[in-house]
């Protein structure tokens, strides 16, 4: 059909395409590391005096400058910074003097647990709901789903969070108000993902405790991506359903269920996938509000505090973390797209 398509496949193949995406992702991360490093050296505040504190004497500031190797040429600082990153060393917080990598190990799983659960919910409900919303055979159901989609997209996080806390947690007392687990619950947390850790602990009550704490914040966080997924999948489905090959399948009396859920959906998932990556990024970046409202010990509050204190290494680590999450998600989606769509072999 497209004359160039075949030759490109012969040259690169799907494996080649995947490798290219991987190389591109590494380049993006290196670029962001370079920029955050440059910015942290360009901001009009002296890292040494920030580290030493407001009441430090000049000679103390100078000692810090030497300790942190801030007097060295910028290039050599950059190289040693890259070396530390490669070893997994993100430096030390100016404010707390704690190793940032250790803090991240504590806070990152909490945020990821929230964002991943919310995205999983949005995708697992959103895709089938989007398909149903495009199904003209069940008009009423489709209208109901579209109404749900508009509602969940337009509900502000702070409003839905407060509403659920007031109604479900305080009034009905069905679910806990805030936090990750009950203060009385204790179990080992080797992964930091409490869902996994509670299963590893072998006690069903631990698991139920974790799940009951997750439900409200996940619902709040999933609302926007859910509505977006429904609308995206619906519009992609409507476009695919109007195409010739669907008409052909219908005339060939392929059952409507098969037409909708297999023949059309696989086509419709492709355009939807790309944007789903963005909704995950949205979840991570909107985590701060949800974490604040539900007293969730995640990255959001940690990073917000760092920004208020101009804690440069933590800010750099924050940018890097968000970048890595973002790039990884998009990489996974790209690889998925290569698997789903035989035609995708982009250069």
């Amino acid at each position: 059909m497209v004359p160039g398509a075949r030759t490109r496949i012969e040259r690169g193949g799907r494996g080649g395409a995947s490798l290219r995406r991987l190389a591109m992702s590494s380049l993006v991360i290196l670029g962001v590391v370079t920029i955050t490093f440059a910015v942290s050296r360009l901001v009009p505040s002296d890292p040494a005096s920030l580290y030493a504190g407001a009441r430090a004497r000049p000679e103390q500031v100078e000692r810090v400058r030497e300790d942190l190797n801030l007097g060295a040429p910028v290039m050599s600082q950059y190289v040693s910074y890259l070396g530390e990153l490669a070893r997994g060393d993100l430096g030390v917080s100016f404010a707390t003097k704690r190793p940032i990598a250790e803090d991240l190990r504590r806070f990152l799983p909490a945020t990821l647990e929230l964002a991943l659960s919310a995205t999983a919910l949005a995708v697992l409900i959103g895709i089938p709901a989007g398909v149903m919303a495009a199904d003209r055979a069940h008009r009423l159901r489709a209208v109901g789903i579209r109404l749900l989609a508009v509602t969940s997209v337009s509900m502000p996080v702070f409003w839905s969070a407060l509403f659920l806390q007031l109604f479900v947690a305080s009034k009905l007392e069905w679910l806990p108000l805030a936090g990750r687990i009950d203060p009385g619950t204790h179990f080992a947390t080797p992964t930091g993902f409490f869902l996994i850790d509670s299963v590893l602990s072998g006690s069903p009550s631990n698991f139920l405790d974790v799940v009951s704490h997750l439900i409200l914040p996940v619902l709040v966080m999933a609302a926007y991506p859910l509505g977006l997924t429904i609308r995206l999948v619906r519009s992609a489905m409507l476009e695919v359903l109007a195409s010739d090959h669907i008409e052909a399948a219908r005339v060939a009396q392929v059952p409507w269920r098969t037409v909708l859920w297999r023949l059309a959906l696989k086509n419709a998932l492709l355009p939807a996938l790309t944007v789903l990556g963005l909704t995950f990024a949205y979840s991570v970046s909107s985590a701060f509000l949800v974490e604040a409202l539900f007293a969730w010990p995640g990255l959001g509050k940690y990073f917000a505090d760092a920004i208020l204190r101009v804690d440069l290494p933590v800010i750099s680590a924050a940018v890097l973390t968000v970048t890595v999450v973002y790039v990884s998600v998009n990489l996974v989606l790209d690889l998925l797209q290569i698997r789903l769509d035989p035609r995708v072999v982009l250069s």
Partner: protein
């Protein structure tokens, strides 16, 4: 193979030789801007084992006519008229799909881009026996069938795609193939091959074929009979040789004159002046009158009904009648 013109022509009701009989079909689309009359009373018969050509320029209603018979027009469209299969009345709700297959114009779009040819054949044929599926491809003239089962549409050439589409159409053992401009998107060599294939399939399986085409050369090559549509009505119908060699309707004559011929290279190509009428406006009298070189006073009043020119050849034109 040309069937005897046993009936006075299309629109004469069902006879023993008819597979399909359409009577007074009218299709109106109802967009918010107002109704569009796409088909305005078409009657035609399709005989067992024949290849019937349906000719007409873009917008004359030829594609939508057969989509309506297959139950594939949007539910908002109004479809009236009657359809009979082997003499038995049939609803235009998709019932015809049980015996008919559709071959679409653009083979690149007619196949699902994200499933292999084998997978698509499997879903339509309702068997995953690779031997059966490969045999379908072989019947459509694809030599390397087993390998093609694992191919995606974008890996195939236009001709291979159209043969795959034909294999899909054969998968459900239809009695009737409705081919909507099956060769328009193909190059000349492939066109000839695909047309020959349709002829072979008719001969081998006793299939009845409806070939929708704006290309009279294609119709002359393959069809036993031809129906010429203009503005949603039948202008002329009859055996291909009769209609194309001695056309009775000025529209058919004009269509034939606009076929490019190497023998008259250098002379300007004839074209029909004007445009087809707008389906949104009511048409008084003959729809072709504004473009007709032989237009008379009585053309503007009353729609001409099909009249036999000779047995099996009908023309809907006032020229068939004595001047008032």
């Amino acid at each position: 193979m040309t069937p005897e013109p046993a009936t006075p022509g299309p629109s004469s009701g069902w006879t023993m030789t008819d597979l399909l009989s359409v009577d007074d079909l009218r299709i109106t689309f109802n967009p918010p801007a107002g109704p569009v009359r796409a088909v305005r009373g078409v009657s035609l018969d399709v005989r067992h084992g024949e290849i019937l050509g349906v000719a007409g320029e873009s917008g004359c209603g030829k594609s939508v006519l057969f989509r309506a018979l297959l139950g594939m027009v949007p539910p908002s469209a109004t479809v009236t008229g009657s359809l009979r299969l082997d003499g038995a009345s049939l609803g235009m709700d998709g019932s015809l799909q049980a015996v008919a297959a559709l071959i679409q114009q653009n083979p690149g779009a007619a196949l699902n881009p994200v499933f292999t040819i084998g997978r698509q054949l499997h879903l339509v044929a309702r068997t995953d026996d690779p031997a059966v599926l490969a045999d379908l491809l072989a019947q459509a003239g694809l030599a390397d069938a087993p390998r093609l089962l694992d191919a995606y549409p974008h890996e195939l050439s236009g001709g291979m795609l159209q043969r795959s589409v034909i294999a899909l159409a054969l998968a459900r053992r239809p009695r009737l193939l409705i081919a909507d401009e099956p060769t328009t998107a193909l190059d000349a060599t492939t066109q000839a091959q695909v047309l020959d294939l349709l002829g072979e399939l008719r001969a081998r399986h006793g299939l009845t074929v409806i070939l929708i085409s704006h290309d009279l050369a294609v119709i002359r090559r393959l069809c036993d009979r031809v129906v010429v549509l203009y503005a949603g009505r039948v202008a002329e119908a009859g055996a291909t040789a009769d209609v194309l060699d001695a056309p009775g309707h000025p529209y058919t004559q004009a269509l034939l004159e606009s076929i490019p011929r190497p023998a008259v290279a250098g002379r300007e190509l004839a074209s029909i002046p004007g445009l087809i009428p707008d389906g949104r406006r009511p048409i008084a009298g003959c729809a072709f009158a504004p473009r007709c070189p032989h237009v008379r006073e009585d053309c503007r009043s009353g729609q001409p009904e099909p009249r036999p020119l000779h047995p099996g050849h009908t023309v809907a034109c006032v020229l068939m009648e004595p001047p008032p």
